[in-house]
């Protein structure tokens, strides 16, 4: 090292240190600025502040820069994930629409109006069709000369009668049409049949608008707004068809058909769709609107066919012809009605007889009586039942020819069918007052319990139940219980012989209960007679009296043919009272113990 360098080193010692420090710092700096990750790390905390500052101070420029991108951004996002966006938007949509309806109702109405009409009329006509069908059915049954005329007219025109009904008086004719700006009530367009211009049309349209507002304010109950649909006066009507920005007022003589009404709605919605915007901006200057185009859309309303009532003279001749044919038809109709009434009664009769025959009751049989012939149809499991059915018909309606088409089937036997048949038969039997029976069906064994009034019925029931297809074993726990007699014969004081009216009582008993055949019918039962006397007088005498009374009753029973063995006289009873009840003979059933 030479002296110069040493001198330089000594002089620039501090500077050297500074320089090497600077070199170091510079190197680090260079490194950092070349390292993107590091730059990002450093800038990130500042970013929000930067944005905030920009938006605050340079808002307009910021917006200008970003707005072109926003719509593209949205488009990208929406295309990519429609479902997610929809999910996010969905909760807001309801409220958004609500808000829109609240503040800008007319815009929404105009937007939906073209669609709503079709939606609703489609739904309504579907619902209405049923009503119309009903009306038609009812109308079929009416029978007056106007009704006949209308029916014929309907057939000729190929239209449903009820539609003609709607225009009975005159057909509706549109006389004048106004298209009115809804908000201001100013008249946009006027069309007239017969070129008869209404002079104060502007006044009329303003007043109509005022009426609509008035009615809505005073009559609408809640926040809903409703529309005035029509104003009736005399035989004319002003129909109002309202959309969002405008409405139609039609002056009509008579009634217009529902399909015309639908046409009106349709045309108005077309006008609204096409010219709605222009119309809503209407400021009173009609030169700003394409009146010619709108007018041409409305013209068809005036081309309605004229269906006036025909002149009197020709209708009279028609009336006479109609009356004659009506009478003829009436006569023929009446006769056929009568015949079918008779036939129906016969059918009912036969079916009732079937119902009351327990064996047949289980099987579905039908009877059709036509021209003196009874057609029997149905299915039964035995030939015997076929024959029974036929014989019933012969008995009930002897002068009918019988066409017996009842077929035999091998019925399908399942526990369910057996149960059903058991149920049906039991129901039939229980419909008799004196029979109470119940069955139990398990493991193909049927157990019958209950009370039956006599042995004949008892045997019959066993037979029918066991005949049910599928019943293999029948256990009888039924018992015969004769129906209650509850009959007392009452006497005058000291009387013991029977007078005629008392004898009649016993006659009836014997007849109703068939007591002559008591032994077979009510096996195990006998009649028990108890003689009563009151306590006036000596006990001995009263006893004798009571016994005599019972004896005479028994005697009479036997004289009528009742078996002596089956009438038993019980110990006489002496009662403390002296009323008529104390002077009697009581007759009850008694079970004979073996």
């Amino acid at each position: 090292m030479n002296d110069f360098d040493t001198l330089r080193g000594l002089l620039l010692h501090q500077e050297k240190a500074a320089i090497s420090e600077l070199e170091h710092t510079l190197a680090t700096l260079l490194k950092e600025t070349r390292d993107p990750d590091l730059i990002i790390e450093k800038l990130t905390p500042l970013f929000n502040g930067l944005m905030h500052h920009t938006i605050e101070n340079e808002r307009v420029q910021f917006l200008e820069t970003f707005s072109p991108i926003i719509s593209d951004l949205l488009k990208e996002t929406i295309q990519g994930s429609t479902d997610d966006i929809a999910k996010v938007m969905a909760p807001i949509m309801g409220d958004a629409i609500k808000e829109q309806v609240r503040t800008q109702k007319d815009t929404i109405v105009d937007a939906l109006y073209p669609v709503m009409g079709n939606m609703i009329s489609k739904y309504v006509s579907g619902a209405l069709k049923d009503t119309l069908d009903e009306i038609n059915a009812k109308v079929q049954n009416s029978f007056s000369s106007t009704a006949v005329k209308r029916k014929i007219k309907a057939r000729i025109k190929g239209v449903s009668e009820s539609e003609l009904l709607f225009q009975e008086v005159h057909a509706g004719e549109i006389q004048t049409l106004f298209l009115i700006h809804k908000a201001s009530g100013l008249l946009i367009l006027q069309e007239n049949r017969n070129a008869k211009i209404i002079v104060e049309a502007d006044m009329v349209s303003s007043m109509l608008s005022a009426i609509r507002s008035f009615v809505n304010e005073w009559i609408a109950q809640s926040d809903d707004t409703f529309e005035l649909n029509a104003i009736d006066y005399g035989d004319s009507k002003i129909y109002l068809e309202v959309s969002g920005c405008c409405y139609l007022a039609l002056m009509v003589r008579g009634e217009i058909r529902s399909e015309m009404r639908q046409n009106i709605t349709k045309v108005l919605s077309e006008v609204v769709e096409k010219y709605g915007d222009t119309i809503s901006k209407f400021n009173g200057d009609t030169s700003t609107l394409p009146l010619g185009e709108i007018s041409s859309k409305m013209k068809p309303f005036f081309e309605l066919e004229d269906t006036k009532v025909s002149s009197p003279s020709s209708s009279k001749g028609l009336m006479i012809v109609l009356m004659m044919s009506a009478l003829l038809i009436l006569g023929a109709f009446g006769y056929t009605q009568y015949l079918s009434y008779i036939e129906e009664k016969q059918e009912q009769n036969i079916l009732q007889a079937f119902y009351h025959t327990p064996e047949l009751n289980l099987y579905r049989l039908s009877v059709d009586v036509n021209e003196k012939e009874a057609l029997l149809e149905g299915t039964v499991p035995h030939e015997r039942l076929r024959i029974i059915a036929e014989s019933i018909v012969e008995k009930e309606e002897p002068d009918l020819k019988i066409d017996n088409r009842i077929v035999l089937t091998v019925p399908v036997v399942t526990p369910e069918t057996v149960y059903q048949l058991l149920e049906m038969l039991t129901k039939v039997y229980n419909s008799y007052n004196s029979i109470h029976v119940a069955f139990n069906y398990t493991n193909e064994i049927v157990t019958l319990k209950g009370e039956v009034p006599n042995s004949i019925k008892f045997e019959e029931m066993i037979k029918y139940y066991s005949e049910i297809v599928g019943v293999n074993k029948l256990i009888i726990e039924m018992r015969i219980k004769p129906p209650e007699i509850n009959q007392n014969i009452t006497y005058d004081i000291a009387q013991s012989t029977l007078n005629t009216s008392q004898q009649e009582i016993i006659d009836l008993l014997v007849k109703n209960f068939d007591l002559k055949n008591m032994s077979t019918l009510y096996e195990g039962y006998r009649l028990k007679l108890t003689g009563y006397a009151d306590s006036s007088g000596s006990l001995e005498k009263n006893r004798h009296l009571a016994h005599k009374r019972a004896e005479n009753v028994k005697h009479y029973f036997v004289s009528l043919g009742v078996n002596n063995e089956h009438v038993f006289i019980d110990k006489e009873m002496i009662l403390k009272s002296d009323g008529r009840k104390a002077r009697a003979v009581k007759i009850v059933w008694e079970k004979i113990d073996d």
Binding site: S184, L186, L187, D202, S206, A210, E217
Partner: protein
């Protein structure tokens, strides 16, 4: 012909119906028949070579119990708010009516009529007018009118007509 809807609003018995009657029929009657709902009159408004058809809606006067039916005000192209210069209460109501009109979707010309000024001294009338003008800065013009004598009525309708067409801004 251009048609415009003009509405007259204001407290009851301020002279709305009379103003219209003066304008349309050029008549006046002292009898007071309260208007129910709305009454519509038609009169062509002319000035210079212009003519517009005015459909004038005379709306029943508001009371403390009953506010006016806003649906009548829809679609109006011009408005006249009427007060009875002899009843201060009606002057105070002016503010409310003007606010209602300003709530509409578009700003329409509003004119104030201080009616029945035949009943007070002209100087007093001017005083009151000045007081009202200070408070209301959104109105087009203020008129001192007398339906009875006819002063100010024609001029008022004429001005409103111009404003509705868009002249004289």
């Amino acid at each position: 012909m251009i048609s415009k809807k003009v509405v007259l609003i204001g407290d009851f018995s301020t002279g709305k119906t009379s103003l219209i009657r003066r304008f349309v029929d050029n008549q006046f009657s002292d009898a007071y028949l309260s208007t129910i709902g709305v009454k519509i009159s038609r009169k062509n408004i002319l000035w210079e070579e212009n003519e517009i058809q005015g459909l004038i809606w005379d709306i029943e006067g508001g009371t403390p119990m009953k506010a006016i039916n806003r649906s009548y005000l829809l679609g109006a192209h011009g408005c006249i708010v009427v007060a009875d210069i002899t009843r201060p209460q009606t002057l105070e109501s002016l503010q409310d009516y003007i606010e209602v009109m300003q709530q509409g979707p578009s700003q329409i010309p509003i004119v104030v009529a201080l009616n029945k000024c035949d009943l007070i001294e002209p100087s007093h009338a001017d005083e009151i007018a000045a007081g009202v003008k200070v408070k209301q800065n959104k109105i087009e013009e203020l008129y001192l009118t007398s339906a009875k004598e006819g002063s100010g009525v024609e001029a008022m309708f004429e001005l409103l007509g111009r404003m509705m067409i868009g002249e004289g801004e």
